[in-house]
C-alpha cells in the first residue's frame, strides 16, 4: 500500500513536470534537425534552455500603454500549458484523471491561452501585434472544428471523452477502425501544424515582421515575460505532439504504475517525440510557407477528413 502511494505520487509529479522540462528540448531537436537538413551545424539541442535562462535574467521593457492584460497574459498562457500538459496522456495511460482530461476541457482550456495571447498582442496597440492577433484568431477559429472533430472521432471509437481512456481503449482496439483513425490522424496533424505555428502556416524562425503570426503577437514582450511566452509555445508544441502520438499511436504507454512500465513509457514517448520532430523538420526544410489565403483551405481539409472519419465509424 505504502509503495503504491509513493509510485503514484512520483508518477503524478513526473506527469506534471514532464511537459515544461522536455518542451525546450523538443524545440532544440527540431532546430538541430532543420539545421542538418540545410547543411548547417546548428546550435546545441540544449540551446532553448540557455535562451530561457538568459531571458529570465533580463530586465523587461513594458510599453506605458500596456494594461493588466499585457502583464498577466504570459502567466495565464504559461499556466494553461502546464495544466493541459498534466491532463493528457504522456507516458502512462493508467493515471486516472477524470477532472481535466475531458477532450472538451482540453480544447477550450487551450483556447483560453490563445484568447489571452491574442488580447496581449492587441493590447499595446502596435501594428504588428494587431496583425498577429487577427491572423491567429482567424486560424484558430478555423482550426477549432478540425481539432474537436478529430478528438471526437477517437472518442466515438473508444466510447469515452476522457483522453486517458481513449489512449487506453484504442490500445485494445488496434486494427479496428483503422481507416477512421488514419483519416482522423491526418486531419489532426494539419491542426498540430496550425496550432503550434509551424510550416506551412507560420514560420517560427522568420525575421520578417510582416509575415509573422505567433511571433508578431509576442513582439512587444521582453525579458522574463518573453521567456514565459517562449516556454509556453514550446509546451504547446509538446502537448500537441503528445496528443497526436498517444491518441493515434498508443503503443508503449505504461498500463500500470510499476517503475519498469513507467520507465519504458518514458523511453517510448521520447522516441515518438523524436519522430515527430523529424517529420516537422523535414516538412520545414522541403516546402515553402503557404500564402495566407490558402491556409483556410488546408484547415477545411482537416475538418472534412475528420467528418469522413466519423462517418466511416458507422
Amino acid at each position: 500500500m505504502e509503495i503504491t502511494m509513493i509510485t503514484n505520487i512520483i508518477t503524478w509529479i513526473l506527469q506534471l513536470i514532464f511537459v515544461p522540462i522536455m518542451a525546450p528540448l523538443c524545440v532544440g531537436i527540431t532546430r538541430k534537425l532543420k539545421a542538418k537538413f540545410q547543411n548547417r551545424k546548428g546550435a546545441s539541442i540544449f540551446q532553448p534552455y540557455q535562451d530561457l535562462q538568459k531571458l529570465f535574467g533580463k530586465d523587461e521593457i513594458i510599453s506605458k500603454d500596456a494594461s493588466w492584460i499585457f502583464r498577466c497574459a504570459p502567466y495565464i498562457v504559461f499556466t494553461v500549458t502546464i495544466v493541459v500538459g498534466a491532463s493528457i496522456p504522456l507516458f502512462a495511460s493508467s493515471i486516472n484523471n477524470t477532472i481535466t482530461s475531458d477532450l472538451l476541457v482540453i480544447v477550450y482550456t487551450l483556447a483560453i491561452g490563445t484568447f489571452f495571447l491574442a488580447l496581449a498582442g492587441i493590447d499595446t496597440g502596435s501594428a504588428f501585434g494587431g496583425f498577429g492577433s487577427s491572423r491567429e484568431m482567424t486560424m484558430s477559429a478555423l482550426a477549432e472544428g478540425g481539432f474537436i472533430f478529430s478528438l471526437l472521432t477517437m472518442a466515438l471509437i473508444s466510447n469515452s471523452t476522457n483522453l486517458f481512456m481513449i489512449s487506453q481503449n484504442s490500445l485494445l482496439l488496434q486494427g479496428h477502425f483503422f481507416l477512421s483513425t488514419a483519416l482522423a490522424f491526418c486531419g489532426f496533424f494539419i491542426i498540430v501544424l496550425a496550432e503550434t505555428a509551424r510550416f506551412p502556416f507560420d514560420n517560427p524562425s522568420t525575421h520578417l515582421e510582416l509575415t509573422m503570426i505567433h511571433e508578431a503577437m509576442i513582439l512587444e514582450y521582453s525579458g522574463k515575460k518573453l521567456a514565459l511566452m517562449e516556454w509556453a509555445s514550446a509546451n504547446k508544441l509538446l502537448i500537441f505532439i503528445a496528443i497526436a502520438s498517444n491518441l493515434f499511436f498508443p503503443f508503449g504507454l505504461a498500463q500500470d504504475l510499476s517503475a519498469s512500465a513507467i520507465i519504458l513509457g518514458i523511453i517510448v514517448f521520447t522516441i515518438k517525440i523524436g519522430i515527430f520532430c523529424l517529420v516537422i523538420a523535414i516538412l520545414e526544410s522541403s516546402i515553402a510557407k503557404f500564402r495566407f489565403f490558402r491556409l483556410p483551405d488546408l484547415l477545411i481539409i482537416a475538418f472534412i477528413l475528420n467528418v469522413i472519419a466519423i462517418i466511416l465509424i458507422y
Binding site: 540545410q38 506551412p200 509575415t211 522541403s286 516546402i287 515553402a288 503557404f290
Partner: protein, 520 residues
C-alpha cells in the same frame, strides 16, 4: 556622330565632348525638346543640376538622354539666371519626377507644375530653406533641426487602417520606412519614405581628393562596390583622355560579372528563404559565400574593393588563377543548376512566386524602370548591350535576358538566366584574356576644361550612372551618381497594392533595391 542629327533640334550650337552632344536650350523650350527626345525612344537617364552662380552667374540643369546601341548621349541643358524656377517635365514624363524633386530639395530650384513637391531624402527635420548642394553651403556646417511633419497619402473608409513599418526592421537590413494602408490583409496603398542613410555623398564628392572620390564611389552602395567605382573611373577616364589597356578591360568584365554572380545567387537564395523554402535559401547562401571567397582570393576584398583605378585595375589574374577560377565556376554552375532544378520542382515555392507583385509593363516604362525589374517585363534595358563598355562588345555579349510576366517569379527567372550568362561571360573572358599591362600609368592627370562626361555601367541591380563636370580650371566641380535604386524604388510602391501584407517582404526582396544608393 553623324547619325545623331535627327535627334538634335535645328539651329542649336552643339558641342561634342567624346560621346556627348551638349547644347543649350532656353528655359521655355526645354519641355518641348525633352519630350521630343523621349518620343524618339531615347531613355531619360538623369536630370541633375549644378550651382554655377559664382563662376557663370546661375544654376545649370542637364537632361541626359542616351541613344541605345550607339553609346552616345544627347545632353540639352538650361541656365537659370536670376530665377529659381524651371518648368517641370513630370506631368508629361513621369520618369522625371524624382529627379526634379531631388533638385528641388537639394538646390532649392522649383519645378513649376510638379504635382508633388514634398522633400525627398532630406527629412522634415531638415530646414526647408537650407540647400546642401549649393556651393555656398559649407559641407561641415551644422544645421539646426526643425520639427515639421511629413504628410503621407491618406486612404479613408471603413475598415482601412495604416501600418507604419520601419525604419528599423526586425532583420538586419538597411533602414527605410513603409506606410501601408490596408483593408484586412490587402494592401490598398503603399508609400515608402527613405533617406535614413543619407550621408551627403554628393557634397563629399566635391570636397575629396581624386583617390578618395574613387573610394567614396565604392561605398555608395556596398554590394555594388565594383560597378560603382567602374562607372566613376570610366567617367573620369573620359574627362582625362586616359585609355586603359586591353587586359584591364577584360579584367573589369571578369570582376564585374563576379560581383553580379555573388549578388544574383545571394538574391535567388534570399527570395527562396523569404517564402520559407529553407533548402534553396541555405544553398543560395552557400554558393554566394563561395564566390565571395573567390573574390577575396583574387583581390583580398570580398566586395572587390580597391581594384578599380583611373586607367585600369590594380589586381591581375595570373595564369594559375585562371585555371582555378574556371574550375571553380564550373563547380558552382553544376551546383547552381541542381538547386534550381529542385526549386523549379517545388509546387509550394512556385505558388508563392507566381502572380505575386506583378509590375505592369506600362508602369515600368513610365517610371523608367531599370535592371532586373525592367528585364522582367521584357524591356530591353542593359547597359552592357546598349552602351557597351570595357570588353563587352569584344566578347560578343549581345543578349539581354528577359521575362514577360513582371511578377516575383519573372524577376527570379531573370536572375537565374543572368547567372548562367555571367558564368559564360567570365569563362569566355578568361580564355580570351589578352596579355599586357593592367593599367595605364598616369602621373598628373589633366582634365578637359568646362567639360562633362557620363560613366555608365550595368551593375547587378541595373544601370549605374556617374555624371561628372569640370570647371574652367579643369577641376571636377560636380559628381552626380545615380544608382538604379533611385528610379526603381517608386515601382515597389506601385506593385504593392492588391497583394496581401505577408507577401510584401517577398516582393521587396525580388527587387532588392539599395537604400544607401538611393539616399546617397
Amino acid at each position: 556622330m553623324e547619325n545623331i542629327q535627327h535627334y538634335l533640334p535645328k539651329n542649336v550650337k552643339v558641342e561634342i565632348i567624346n560621346n556627348i552632344a551638349l547644347f543649350e536650350v532656353s528655359v521655355s523650350d526645354i519641355k518641348k525638346i525633352a519630350i521630343g527626345l523621349r518620343a524618339k525612344n531615347l531613355q531619360l537617364n538623369l536630370i541633375t543640376a549644378a550651382d554655377e552662380r559664382e563662376t557663370k552667374g546661375g544654376f545649370k540643369i542637364w537632361y541626359v538622354f542616351g541613344i541605345p546601341k550607339q553609346n552616345i548621349f544627347i545632353v540639352p541643358f538650361i541656365r537659370l539666371q536670376n530665377t529659381t524656377k524651371f518648368p517641370s517635365l513630370t506631368p508629361t514624363m513621369h520618369s522625371a519626377c524624382n529627379f526634379e524633386k531631388k533638385i528641388h530639395t537639394f538646390f532649392g530650384l522649383t519645378p513649376i507644375g510638379h504635382p508633388d513637391l514634398r522633400p525627398i531624402i532630406l527629412h522634415e527635420n531638415w530646414p526647408a530653406n537650407v540647400f546642401p548642394l549649393r556651393k555656398d553651403f559649407d559641407w561641415q556646417a551644422k544645421v539646426k533641426a526643425t520639427h515639421e511633419s511629413y504628410q503621407f497619402q491618406k486612404v479613408e473608409g471603413e475598415g482601412i487602417y495604416e501600418i507604419p513599418v520601419g525604419p528599423i526592421h526586425a532583420g538586419i537590413i538597411e533602414p527605410g520606412h513603409f506606410r501601408f494602408s490596408v483593408a484586412g490583409e490587402e494592401i490598398i496603398l503603399l508609400e515608402a519614405k527613405l533617406g535614413f542613410v543619407h550621408k551627403g555623398s554628393e557634397k563629399l564628392f566635391e570636397i575629396l581628393t581624386l583617390s578618395d572620390k574613387l573610394h567614396l564611389s565604392e561605398k555608395i552602395s556596398g554590394d555594388s562596390s565594383f560597378s560603382h567605382s567602374l562607372a566613376f573611373c570610366q567617367a573620369v577616364e573620359q574627362l582625362g583622355d586616359v585609355v586603359p589597356p586591353k587586359r584591364a578591360l577584360y579584367l573589369r568584365v571578369i570582376y564585374a560579372e563576379l560581383e553580379r554572380l555573388a549578388n544574383h545567387i545571394g538574391d535567388i537564395g534570399a527570395i527562396m528563404i523569404d517564402t520559407g523554402f529553407n533548402f534553396g535559401g541555405s544553398q543560395g547562401a552557400r554558393l554566394k559565400e563561395m564566390i565571395m571567397q573567390i573574390n577575396e582570393r583574387l583581390s583580398r576584398s570580398r566586395f572587390l574593393r580597391h581594384i578599380n583605378t583611373i586607367g585600369g585595375v590594380t589586381k591581375d589574374i595570373f595564369v594559375k588563377e585562371v585555371e582555378l577560377l574556371s574550375f571553380d565556376l564550373k563547380k558552382i554552375q553544376k551546383d547552381f543548376s541542381e538547386i534550381i532544378a529542385v526549386a523549379e520542382n517545388s509546387t509550394s515555392l512556385l505558388n508563392r512566386l507566381k502572380g505575386t507583385g506583378i509590375l505592369l509593363p506600362k508602369i515600368a516604362e513610365d517610371y523608367g524602370a531599370l535592371g532586373v525589374a525592367a528585364k522582367a517585363v521584357a524591356i530591353l534595358n542593359d547597359a552592357r548591350v546598349n552602351f557597351p563598355y570595357a570588353a563587352y562588345s569584344e566578347l560578343g555579349f549581345n543578349t539581354i535576358e528577359t521575362e514577360m510576366d513582371g511578377d516575383v517569379y519573372a524577376r527570379f527567372r531573370v536572375r537565374i538566366k543572368e547567372v548562367y550568362a555571367s558564368i559564360e561571360l567570365i569563362q569566355n573572358a578568361l580564355i580570351k584574356l589578352p596579355n599586357g599591362p593592367i593599367y595605364t600609368p598616369i602621373n598628373n592627370i589633366l582634365f578637359r576644361k568646362n567639360a562633362l562626361s557620363v560613366g555608365i555601367v550595368e551593375g547587378w541591380r541595373g544601370q549605374i550612372i556617374y555624371f561628372i563636370t569640370t570647371d574652367a580650371m579643369g577641376n571636377i566641380s560636380r559628381v552626380a551618381p545615380c544608382d538604379p535604386s533611385f528610379l526603381n524604388w517608386p515601382l515597389v510602391g506601385e506593385v504593392g497594392p492588391s497583394n496581401v501584407v505577408p507577401d510584401f517582404p517577398l516582393i521587396n526582396k525580388s527587387f532588392n533595391l539599395s537604400y544607401s544608393g538611393n539616399d546617397l
